[in-house]
Amino acid sequence: MTTTHTTSATQLPSAVQERQRRAKLRRNMFYLVLLAMGLVAPFVAYPVFLMKILCFALFACAFNLLLGYAGLLSFGHAAFLATGGYVTGYLLASYPGLTPELGILAGTLMATLLGVLFGVLSIRRQGIYFAMVTLALAQLMFFVFVQSSFTGGEDGLHGVPRGHLFGVIDLSSNLEMYYFVFAVFVFGFAVIQRTVHSPFGQVLKAIRENEPRAVSLGYNVDAYKLLAFVLSAGLAGLAGSTKTVVFQLASLTDAHWHMSGEVILMTLLGGVGTLLGPLMGAGLVVSLQHLLAQSPLGNWVSVILGIIFVVCVLSFRSGIIGELAKMYRKNIK
């Protein structure tokens, strides 16, 4: 696009602006439709199932911020999901007076702090080593969770009360809980959307495309990477905290490396580096797990996820949203 503009720069700005304005309008319309769909959804589908999708979608969006926009493949995001979940679960279960939003805030904060620690350590290495370091750090956290007393070890935390939001709204009803989770998701999504389209997000993309050049342009690459990592960790923690309130439990499943793999799969399937891809991927993977659990193939979930992984990597690397966007662009031109 840019090359064609440079040739006739004098007359085009208005046309370009017009096109950008239209694209923005179309995008806003699209988001409004999605928002409306989200508001109506609990009357069409089972709210708990939808909440599960939204929590994992937020988790995948957070992960995508790091992989899709900063080009960093973290293999340890389960640690943040689990930290958020455990901290929130422990606080809400031990202090009955605590309102859920404060519990979630605390969980998110702890995950963010952990993100600072992990980030400082892991951005010292690049590429494949980065993935290995994050995986090893997450495994360390897994053992910490297994051995700590506050997590309930192998049993996990059960019966975490949902409580009253702001001390007023009773969350024990699934419908009210759904709207709260939806609000949390919209907040997280908006943060990510803003981040990606901000100057900060642009620098992240520059680092992803060509790190040495970003360095030579004078950007403090490590600081950018660290901030992206911490943001991603915090939002993953928010997803974990919210999930704990919804399902009233926190368990080791969230801390296991399988979970780190699952979030990669959701993002990859939906489309790495697209805003809506992780939402789509999370919806598909959660639905698939739900369907398989009831079918005779219930024990083969992990094999089927593995096969999807292989197929995605071999022939579907842009993911569903990415492929759709490609088709769209081709047909418009």
Binding site: L121, G127, M132, V133, L314
Partner: protein
């Protein structure tokens, strides 16, 4: 009884051997990872699954075909390595031109498939593989009791490491491999069949994992999940030592095994996590790894 740092000598030496044996496995596995990484530039996430497949192949070969331990030690690495070559030829090669992270993701998917399939077929509880009779019992060294099988594992693993070192540093094929690691395009221009070399290298790395699996079969319960948790520790070992050279991989592997063994004696609660803690320490003090040259 003689005491070392407040611990009976026998216990101390026992844990030291245990640590060395674990370290030998770390060394073998990280060596395989390093060999594959050198030429293919991918981290083989299926390495743990291939180690597990080695142990299972030994178990099933014995159960259904009557293949004894010694035959398995030779046959299983060849068979599993052969499967690895097919994997490389038909899957990995198709994404070789892409970002190397895709290789990690592809092998991760394969690991999920292998592990999940075997869990469905055999459950997670794990089976026992009988130790060959010659290696039963142990040696009384006076200051400690050394189980023969553990001694054998140590010897066999180190011999395998040395064999790998010899193959890579002292043979013509190894010279090709080293040259290919440096600059594979130039190698191809010189008329070396680089794709074939890559297939062979991947097969060799996988064979090393399977060899480790057969060695481990009589020592640990043979279960579908035996590989994955071990692999994450091996990743940490690789981060600590870097994947620069073979000798570094061996030394780091053994060293980490010994540190783990000592931790079991003095502070058992941390024995699962000590290697990760060492990794954190190394990342803070020497970000490129103990022997790393990477910037």
């Amino acid at each position: 009884m003689t005491m070392i740092f407040g611990v009976p000598m026998a216990v101390f030496m026992g844990q030291l051997t245990l640590g060395l044996v674990n370290g030998a496995f770390y060394a073998l596995l990280s060596l395989g990872l390093a060999v594959i990484f050198g030429l293919l530039k991918i981290v083989n996430f299926a390495h743990g699954a291939q180690y597990m497949l080695g142990a299972f192949a030994a178990l099933l070969g014995f159960r259904y075909l009557g293949i004894n331990y010694w035959l398995a030690l030779i046959l299983v690495p060849l068979v599993v390595g052969g499967c690895g070559m097919l994997m490389e030829r038909f899957l990995l090669r198709r994404i070789a031109h892409l970002d190397h992270l895709y290789g990690l993701l592809l092998t991760f998917g394969l690991a999920l498939i292998f592990e999940g399939t075997l869990i469905n077929l055999f459950g997670v509880s794990g089976a026992r593989y009988a130790t060959p009779e010659i290696l039963l019992g142990g040696l009384n060294l006076g200051f400690m009791f050394l189980p023969t099988y553990r001694a054998w594992v140590l010897v066999a693993a180190l011999a395998m490491c040395l064999f790998t070192w010899f193959m890579i540093e002292r043979t013509r094929l190894g010279a090709y491999l080293r040259a290919g690691t440096e600059n594979s395009q130039l190698m191809q221009a010189f008329g070396v069949n680089v794709p074939l070399l890559i297939t062979l290298t991947y097969g060799f790395g996988v064979g090393l994992a399977a060899f480790a699996g057969v060695l481990a079969a009589p020592l640990y319960p043979v279960s579908p999940t035996m590989g994955s948790s071990l692999l994450i520790v091996v990743f940490a070992v690789v981060v600590i030592g870097g994947m620069g050279s073979i000798l570094c991989a061996i030394l780091t592997g053994l060293g980490m095994g010994i540190i783990e063994g000592f931790t079991k004696v003095y502070y058992p609660e941390a024995s699962n996590t000590v290697i990760f803690l060492v990794m954190i320490l190394v990342l803070m003090l020497r970000p490129a790894g103990l022997f790393g040259k990477e910037a």
